[in-house]
């Protein structure tokens, strides 16, 4: 799968869009400029979108609206909000709504690039953890209903005889199920299995 690395710049002023995209590219990043939040959302691909840099004040859909729209779609793409000087209330609102960062206009390149790199790193971390969860979920999908049940009881730190008593089956049967669970989940030991099961719960 592709890494989420594209910097999307959303600004109603095309000069700003072009300039920031160029700045990002000059620093070796992939960047695209969009003239409005609507245009951006139409072309939005959560798999490749590394982060969004958006102006807070735009006619039609504002930066905050865009933030909400992304959230509503379940996208975890970090959003950097650009505000005018002194728009403290707006910045606070953006951060409350879950913005990764906000920068005041006008800003110099290192401020912008530091913020963008931080957001991209965050996006990549979350993409990785998403991918890991997907792998674990794939493994768990191979478990039979009984195996799943036994895995849950193992994670609840029950011993094999306890599980056998609980389910009304022999200890031997539990042992063979347990071995298959460990195999299918590709767990290296009990501790590893517990870790995988917890991550599985997170993704549910």
């Amino acid at each position: 799968m592709t890494a989420p690395s594209v910097v999307h710049i959303v600004d109603d002023d095309p000069a700003i869009g072009r300039a920031l995209a160029m700045l990002a590219r000059s620093a070796g990043l992939e960047a695209e400029a969009h003239a409005s939040a609507k245009a951006f959302l139409e072309a939005f691909d959560p798999a490749t979108a590394g982060c969004v840099v958006t102006d807070a004040r735009m006619p039609g859909m504002t930066g905050l609206d865009l933030q909400r729209a992304l959230k509503a779609r379940g996208a975890e793409t970090p959003v950097i909000v650009i505000t005018g000087h002194g728009a403290v209330a707006l910045a606070v609102e953006a951060l409350k709504a879950g913005a990764a960062d906000f920068i005041e206009k006008p800003f110099d390149d290192h401020v912008f690039l530091a913020s963008v790199r931080e957001a991209l790193a965050r996006a990549q971390r979350s993409a990785q953890s998403r991918a890991q969860r997907a792998v674990i979920a794939e493994r768990a999908a191979q478990l039979s209903a009984r195996e799943r049940e036994i895995m849950d009881l193992i994670v609840d730190s029950l011993s094999n005889p306890e599980i056998a008593a609980r389910l009304g089956i022999s200890v031997r049967t539990v042992e063979s199920h347990r071995a298959r669970v460990m195999e299918k989940m590709q767990a290296r030991g009990l501790a590893d299995l517990v870790r995988l099961a917890i991550r599985l719960d997170e993704s549910d």
Partner: protein, 584 residues
């Protein structure tokens, strides 16, 4: 402008006595006992103050002497008949003295009255009778002044104060002349059934005396006054005309006595209209002095003096009321003008702030782009090596620094002109809305627009800057009035306010106009978007900025032909003064 009456009542709430015990007698008894208590309470400080402030002692002495002199001047005319004077100027002085010094000085007035009566030549009354009469005078005048001070009507700044003064004077004068007539041996007047005209004559003298002299002690601090040289010349001229007309009206043959009297109204009206209550008081004083001088000089027929005084009462009262009305009106106009100027100033400031903000935004964009482009070029140049690339990179650093400098200038300009932080306090919406409606009132009348205030009862106080909220209201109402210019009648503006949630209240300004055009609607709150031929398009942008500065929102709530509505929210003041529950 007409305010919707039913809603005005809703706002005011019903006024009834707390325990439902209606009855003028009970209320009167309560008022009287209150008055007596306060009078007695004030006696002590009045007396004690005298010793603490020696200068006051001189004032009291001056009053004592002037009182005696005026009493003698009045009594000169009818020697021996102490109570019957056509101009009780001494009584007026006592009334004014008590208004200034408080009812605590009433005992001193009684003392002065007793002394002058006692020293009057040709008096035949007993000391007891004179003491009684003096006590009644002191107490009745003292009560009158106590009542006026309680009402806060010690300055003739409005008609309410004047009506209170006239009422208090009429009652006090009645008590005073009745006591004098009864106590000072004028029983013979009762015997030949002449007591009624005697009381009327004496009462007229006492009443006019108060109306002439007491207002001198109750002149308002504000209102029209002859302060400039030109005004002083005009006032002097009016005084001369008054004297001339007096001479003309008094010098006629006995049959013509009153023929020219009514001409006195003309210069008196002149002076009252120009200089308000101050002009009226001094005009009246001139007329009275002229009258006294005329009769004392033996020029006038003495039998006519009461006839004159009776007519004179009508003149004095009329002119005083006119002067008071003029003063009240001018003071109100002045206050309204000040308010309008303040609002205009605030509007100008926020307009300048919004323009600076818009300008800063517009300039920041290209500066920002220039900086980013330059930095991009610099980064791309890093791959190249050599002195030329280094020089170019340095030049780019300089370019960015200059763009940054320009941005800093724009920023400081904006900060300098920008809005000051709002002074937020717990404010009631109702008086703000009412005042805003009043300020737009004349415009509404001209355009046949009716404003209705539909504010929910028990609306909580908002936490906001009163001036800024009012500016928003005036702006929205003003827009509504303009929107109704070509609308079909009835042209109605409704100002509504209600509690939205625990945290916010909502104010709505709705008009029956054609609504906002769709092509404007999208950019309605952007600076420089307007549908008005002479508008800057900053009004709504300013309003939104002001409301957001209070922590509220402003939006177009409804937009269709016949119903266009703008609404804004304000945070509710927590822990602030809550409106009292309505009296039941």
């Amino acid at each position: 402008m007409r305010l919707d009456n039913s809603h005005a009542n809703r706002l005011a709430g019903g006024i009834t006595t707390p325990d439902g015990r209606s009855g003028a007698a009970a209320a009167l008894a309560d008022a009287f006992s209150d008055l007596m208590t306060s009078t007695l309470n004030q006696t002590q400080p009045g007396f004690a103050r005298l010793w603490r402030e020696p200068r006051r002692l001189w004032l009291w002495a001056l009053f004592f002497i002037t009182y005696g002199a005026l009493d003698r001047a009045s009594a000169l005319f009818l020697p021996g008949v102490v109570a019957l004077t056509p101009w009780d100027l001494a009584g007026g002085l006592a009334f004014g003295f008590l208004i200034v010094e408080g009812p605590g000085a009433a005992w001193f007035v009684a003392l002065a009255d007793l002394a002058t009566d006692f020293l009057a030549p040709g008096q035949h009354s007993s000391l007891l009778a004179m003491t009684l009469a003096a006590l009644v005078t002191g107490i009745s005048y003292g009560l009158a002044s106590a009542w006026l001070r309680r009402l806060g009507a010690v300055r003739l700044a409005d008609l309410r104060a004047l009506v209170s003064l006239a009422l208090a004077a009429a009652l006090a004068a009645l008590a005073h002349v009745s006591a004098d007539l009864a106590a000072l041996g004028r029983w013979s007047l009762f015997a030949d059934r002449a007591w009624a005209p005697a009381i009327v004559s004496a009462w007229t003298g006492a009443f006019v005396g108060i109306l002439i002299v007491a207002p001198l002690f109750a002149l308002p601090r504000s209102g029209p006054k002859p302060t400039a040289t030109r005004d002083a010349v005009e006032a002097g001229l009016a005084g001369l005309v008054i004297v001339a007309v007096m001479a003309l009206s008094l010098s006629g043959a006995p049959g013509d006595r009153f023929r020219y009297f009514y001409l006195l109204f003309l210069p008196q009206i002149w002076i009252a209209v120009r200089f308000g209550v101050v002009g009226a008081v001094f005009g009246n004083l001139i007329v009275q002095i002229g009258l006294v001088a005329f009769f004392l000089g033996g020029l006038g027929p003495r039998d006519a003096v009461f006839d004159y005084q009776f007519r004179f009462m009508a003149l004095v009262a009329t002119i005083l009321f006119l002067g008071c009305a003029v003063t009240e009106r001018r003071v109100m106009e002045g206050a309204l003008r000040e308010r309008q100027e303040e609002l205009a100033r605030v509007a100008r400031l926020s307009l300048a702030g919004e323009m600076a903000a818009a300008l800063a935004h517009q300039l920041n964009q290209p500066l920002m782009a220039a900086m980013a482009f330059t930095r991009s070029a610099q980064r791309l140049l890093r791959a190249e090596a050599g002195p030329q690339a280094e020089g170019a990179s340095q030049a780019m650093d300089e370019a960015v620094a200059q763009a940054d400098r320009a941005a800093a200038i724009v920023r400081s300009l904006r900060d300098f002109i920008g809005r000051s932080a709002p002074e937020r306090a717990a404010i009631a919406i109702e008086p703000l809305a009412r005042e805003a409606a009043q300020l737009v009132g004349p415009e509404c009348v001209r355009r046949g627009v009716r404003i209705a205030l539909l504010l929910d009862h028990g609306l909580p106080a908002a936490l906001a800057d009163a001036v800024q909220v009012q500016q928003v209201l005036i702006n929205l109402i003003g827009n509504a009035v303009e929107a109704l210019e070509h609308a079909p009648r009835p042209r109605v503006i409704e100002v509504r306010a209600r509690r939205l949630s625990e945290l916010h209240l909502e104010v709505e300004v709705r008009d029956s106009g054609p609504g906002v055009a769709p092509e404007i609607e999208a950019r309605l709150f952007e600076p420089f978007a307007t549908s008005k031929p002479r508008g800057m398009g900053l009004g709504l942008a300013v309003c939104r900025g002001l409301v957001e500065a209070q922590g509220g929102r402003l939006w177009l709530a409804e937009n269709r032909p016949g119903a266009c509505s703008f609404a804004f929210t304000l945070p509710i003041a927590r822990g602030g003064p809550r409106p009292k529950p309505a009296a039941t």
